[in-house]
């Protein structure tokens, strides 16, 4: 999520072009973040200190962290903190931007802060840096603290866990109803009335079907929508569990899908959120009353 959304922000603000974005993606997916870069990005070392350690490392066969401790620049505790950040998406982004000579970690930090500010996400900047899917999902919803927030978070998180981790969300909106071909959805009843479903314009929905079934579908047909219905059932099952922790009980109805165009509406507006899964766009919709 972080890579795609921050990457798009950098394109929109003309900090990088499409070509650089693609190179960045390649590096981002393959690169291992160097400890020195994290230390500089975290302001634990100056660039000069990091360069000095790198120079020493080129001569003696020792780890970066050990040399930094010997020189008295870092403590063992600091080094372990840095190591924990090595897998971080933000750091991988810093590393990739630096490797391509586009910007140094300080500049990346400035840009990332501006990106977060634009998202109105300063309060959750650490979660955003940690590539927390829930935090991104919330910020792309049309209103704060909505009653469909938890459901949307579970949906996006489940897609990233089961279907693909190369996903990002786009700004969601509130709509009175959705009308489309090949909509799959499920209602829940009990302490709350819930609707959750999804559709896509092209065959993007097959990403969901294949993510659930783990085999391929040739086209958007009844069988594919059946698989989408089962995936929706998984999301709603998790949501029902989340509700049960707050003593709310809901029962899942049988998932409903149809190839023909149909309109789905609820007691109140539906939240409609686009999710891009490996360049294919799927629309999620939800209403909780």
């Amino acid at each position: 999520m972080l890579f795609e959304l921050f990457g798009k922000y950098l394109i929109d603000n003309k900090k990088i072009d499409e070509d650089q974005y693609n190179k960045l993606e390649e590096l981002y997916l393959s690169s291992r973040v160097k400890l020195g870069l994290i230390a500089v990005a975290e302001r634990m070392l100056t660039q000069e200190q990091a360069d000095e350690i790198n120079a020493k490392q080129a001569i003696i066969d020792k780890k970066f962290g050990d040399i930094a401790i010997e020189l008295g620049y870092l403590t063992a505790y600091h080094v372990s903190e840095l190591l924990a950040k090595q897998g971080s998406s933000y750091m991988k982004m810093c590393q990739a931007l630096s490797d391509l000579g586009i910007m140094n970690p300080q500049e990346t930090e400035r840009e990332f802060n501006a990106f977060v500010f634009e998202l109105d996400g300063i309060e959750v900047i650490n979660e955003l840096k940690a590539d927390d899917v829930d935090a991104y999902t919330s910020l792309y919803l049309p209103e704060k603290y909505s009653n469909y927030e938890v459901l949307m978070q579970i949906a996006v998180r489940t897609i990233s866990r089961i279907v693909s981790n190369r996903i990002y969300v786009e700004k969601a909106e509130k709509v009175p109803a959705v009308s489309h071909k090949a909509i799959s959805f499920q209602t829940m009843h009990g302490d709350k009335k819930v609707i959750f479903g999804m559709y896509s314009d092209d065959d993007a929905i097959l990403k969901i079907a294949e993510g659930y079934a783990k085999f391929e579908f040739d086209q958007v047909d009844e069988d594919a929508l059946d698989a989408v219905g089962e995936f929706i059932n998984v999301i709603n099952g998790l949501y029902a569990t989340a509700l049960s922790y707050n003593d709310s009980k809901v029962e899942l109805d049988v998932p409903d899908y149809r190839l023909e165009e149909r309109t789905v509406s609820a007691q109140s507006d539906l939240c409609l959120m686009p999710v891009v899964i490996e360049d294919k766009k799927v629309y999620l919709f939800a209403s909780v009353n």
Binding site: D223, N233, L252, V254
Partner: protein
């Protein structure tokens, strides 16, 4: 090796389950798309194990479990649920289901459940 009856309204889920069970060396002797048909098939086929999806039209898995247990109190039943239908699962275990598995199916978990149930 067991003779298994799969009861699930989703064709995709039946296919996934059948693939796994066949892979493990079991034989799927029947498939039903709702609880009502499932109960009838159970009576006719007398499988070693029956898997019951919970969310199904016409007759859900919990009701079908009751009917199957009425007919055969020693029936070996595995409940299949979407993650999180805790209350139903607990109820089903009390009503005599031996095991439960959650969707999406995970090969290792499914394998263990069937190994346990088939001894």
């Amino acid at each position: 090796m067991a003779k298994v009856l799969i009861v699930d309204d989703s064709k995709t889920s039946r296919r996934i389950l059948k693939n796994f069970l066949t892979q493990f060396g079991h034989e799927v002797i029947g498939e039903a798309e709702n609880g009502e048909i499932g109960v009838e098939m159970y009576k006719n086929l007398k499988p070693d194990v029956v898997t019951l999806d919970i969310t199904m039209p016409v007759m859900d898995g919990v009701e079908a479990l009751g009917k199957i247990k009425e007919f055969d109190k020693d029936a070996k039943v595995v409940m299949v649920t979407a993650a999180g239908q805790r209350d139903h699962v607990m109820g089903a275990i009390k009503a005599g289901a031996l095991e439960f598995v959650t969707k999406p199916f995970e090969e290792n978990i499914l394998k263990k459940v069937f190994e346990k149930i088939c001894v």
